[in-house]
Amino acid sequence: MARIGVFVCHCGENIARTVDCARVAEALADHPGVEFSTDYKYMCSDPGQSLIKQSMKEHRLDGVVVASCSPHMHEKTFRKAVSAAGLNPFKCEMTNIREHCSWIHEDRAAATEKSTDLVRATVERVKYNQALSPITIPITPRALVIGGGIAGIQAALDIADAGREVVLVEKEPSIGGHMSQLSETFPTMDCSQCILTPRMVDVAQHPRITLHSFSEVDAVDGYIGNFDITIRKKARRVDEDLCNSCGACMQACPTRKIPSEFDAGLGTRTSIYVPFPQAVPNVPVIDEPNCLYLKSLARRRKSKKPARSRKPVCQRCVKACGPKAIDFQQEDRLVTEKVGAIVVATGYRLYDIGREQDEPGISGYGEYGYGKVPDVIDGLQFERLMSASGPTGGELRRPSDGKVPRHVVFLQCIGSRDPAKGMEYCSGICCMYTAKHVLLFKHKVHNGRATVFYMDIRAAGKGYDPFTRQAMEEPGVQYLRGRASELYRDGDVVRVLGVDTLSQEAVDIKADLVVLATAIRPQKGIQDLTRKLSVSVDHHGFMNEAHPKLRPVETATAGVFLAGACQAPRDIPDTVAMASAASSKVLALLSRDELEREPQVALVDTANCSGCFHCERACHYGAIEHEEIKDGQGRLIRVVARVNPGVCQGCGSCVAACLSNCIELQGYTDDQIFASIQAI
């Protein structure tokens, strides 16, 4: 016969107000298998826990039921107490008679009866509880950071500085991300590159950071503590070890008019290039679709004509290169890295108001000419025009004719907070960077005029509100609450038609330049990556955190963490804070040799498994493996499913999908659930 103890908590008045706790304890005292039953005002308090421990010893209890609040709140507390008294913690269960009973009912008699039923069900369940012990899995003490923007850089440096190795993967030829493109940063107006580039150099020189630039994550296998990462190193066609970053190849390259990605299309670059002078690694990359030689190769391959002996096309970079670092034969290479934890820091991209959108549900701005007016630019392009390293050397000159604009119109919330365009969320940073743009503009063009169309000013960060106020109070600056309904080119000006909703007046402005604060969207290809990582995304493609308040940098997949704008629009301070938070989570994980996991994982009854592997298809985490059952002579009898306890998250999808009903979730077995149901 079981010897179960029942402990009914009053939770002060929270439960006792509606439930007669003493009656519940009394009713359970006579239940078969219950050895001891009592009630107490605060079971989670120190005396309450002592009461449990003492009763366990006195009555030699082999199971404990605590009827109180949600297990989310105190399951760990009570299991720890039970463990301290010498019983397996998984012999302790909670019944939630607060959220499930006292808080939602008014009739005291009925609530007491319901509580009694619920506790009785748990008592019956505990009779079938098995002693479980935590699962230990070994850990590879290295981390992978995906994305080399400020989030990835910060996370990589934090982890590496703490003594763990880091593998940093960046898909562009250089790390630095969007922050390297910015001119100044709000609210302190320090130069973005000046604060970022030292960190980039730190990454390059750090003995514990392995940088894979111009690379992408190809495949992710394994599980927390033991990920196997396949990284595709795209063909750079320049040997990173031989190159001495002299730049002679770029001088020699005849293709010079390719729009520069780093300058947001406003400047030009050669087809062998480094994105910007401070790039890390400072090794050029050859742009395959634009290189004359590679184009000629592709043409020749296409025409399938026999290779005639003729002068090689171009290859001037090869001739110019002293250390012979250029290798046109180079191809994509796959490298594998073993890591224990992953930080995703893939950042964002800006919404494009063009007619063509890459996702259904998102539409462009026909009313703004779908971005075809040359003097209508986005925020990032304005940053490049303002930047000392930009295409104009820091002088503000508009794209169409190179004149210095006298009147600039800034439009906020382009795409953001606009369900009609498909993005109803606030992009968070635009109010601040528009204010920054206004101040930068006024700094460069003293007698210039700026008009800002805004919906609300959202400037909640430290020092943010005074910053926006400063912009608003600058002479020649006008903030209009409202939106622009139409933009079109009129001679050499851009006509902005809109409405000032505060004065209810229509506005018609002849602007020299229009800057759109376009919405922040997740990086292209995020869906592919999240699928590889088994991490979910919201319907905009931003990655989901495990808990919006209490686990903001973790994901539902153990061992995968988030930093920066891949999770939601973030400014630099938030991104850096998040990156450090993620690295502290990584370090907490990697500081141990072995990982302890909750043992509530699925277990396959191999004798009954029919091997249909529906579970494998149902498992979101890739936890199902194939196990071969062999006879005494080593002959294969059948193949059955096996759950890798290191990967299993205990979600129970496989249990539901199993046609043979032969998978059980430890701690939630059929026996336990059946017993509970029968007690009610």
Binding site: C609, S610, C612, S660, N661, C662, A675
Partner: protein, 290 residues
């Protein structure tokens, strides 16, 4: 017929297979035939009485056939859909089996029938036959046959059931299930019922009451129908095997319609098409989530 017998003989003689499973004349109509020696091959026949879905003998549950692991089986177009499910659910290796496909012009509802096929006598599943020339097979034999005579009785009966109120429908099924004697013939004949241990045989916990009482009967038939949702190929063998004549085909066909409606899945002879239970699509209907 000779074509089939010759092929069976050749497969056995060449050692390609250990057994050929087909049809032969029995004392009462046509019955399954298990040919393990070349000289037995002459017994094989194929005509419109060959209603049985022999794919059930490919199921690993058939322990008595374990001595003949490499099997050839005679299949009609509709039967290949069951093969596809077994392949998809990793129960057979395509290399281990030889599928002898026969061009089919429909079969009788009973293996003991005689005379030509009529709208009255044709099996329900022939009504909307779409695979008269099976593609999944290794050998395709027989002359092209005319299309089976149409009948819409199954659709009509489902229509009748759908027009009933919930109470009427419950009464209808209670009436049917109350006759169930729990012989489990439906399970034994079904090519998809291959569990090592059936939920009906489990005692800890006992999910389904074992005595032939309406409560356990309903649970059994409902659970079996649910286990077949998205897998049933509509061969109707359960209904044919039922000694008390419960129209199990109705239940399964209705579920197949629901699966089609919600998950855009129909039984297919393509083993590469994932079953609805094992596939997740972002456009799956989720109206059950409130």
């Amino acid at each position: 017929m000779k074509e089939l017998q010759d092929l069976a003989r050749r497969l056995l003689l060449e050692g390609r297979v250990d057994i050929v499973i087909g049809y032969q004349q029995g004392p009462r109509g046509v019955r399954p035939s298990f040919v393990t020696r070349p000289e037995q091959a002459d017994a094989l026949i194929f005509d419109e009485r060959c209603v049985h879905n022999l794919v059930t003998y490919l199921s690993p549950r058939r322990a008595h056939l374990a001595a003949w692991p490499r099997r050839a089986v005679v299949v009609k177009g509709c039967d290949t859909r069951a093969v596809a499910v077994l392949l998809r659910e990793s129960h057979i290796d395509r290399e281990d089996i030889v599928l002898i496909g026969l061009r089919c012009g429909g079969v009788h509802r009973s293996a003991e029938a005689s005379g030509p096929l009529t709208a009255e006598s044709v099996a329900f599943r022939c009504a909307d036959c779409s695979i008269r020339e099976p593609e999944l097979v290794d050998h395709l034999l027989g002359d092209p046959r005319p299309a089976p005579p149409g009948n819409s009785r199954l659709a009509e009966r489902i229509g009748q059931l759908e027009s009933m109120s919930h109470e009427q429908r419950r009464e209808f099924w209670n009436n049917e299930f109350s006759r169930c004697i729990r012989c489990h013939a439906c399970r034994q004949v079904c090519p998809m019922c291959y569990c090592e241990r059936c939920i009906a045989d489990k005692t800890r916990p006992r999910w389904i009451e074992s005595s032939a009482h309406l409560r356990g009967n309903t649970a059994w038939n409902m659970i079996r129908a649910m286990h077949l949702a998205g897998r049933c190929v509509g061969c109707g063998e359960c209904g044919r095997a039922c000694p008390v004549g419960i129209p199990l085909g109705l239940l399964n066909r209705k579920l197949a319609m629901v699966v089609d409606e919600h998950f855009d899945y129909r039984a297919t002879d393509d083993p590469e098409v994932p079953g609805p239970l094992g596939s997740f699509r972002s456009d799956d209907a989720e109206e059950f989530i409130v």
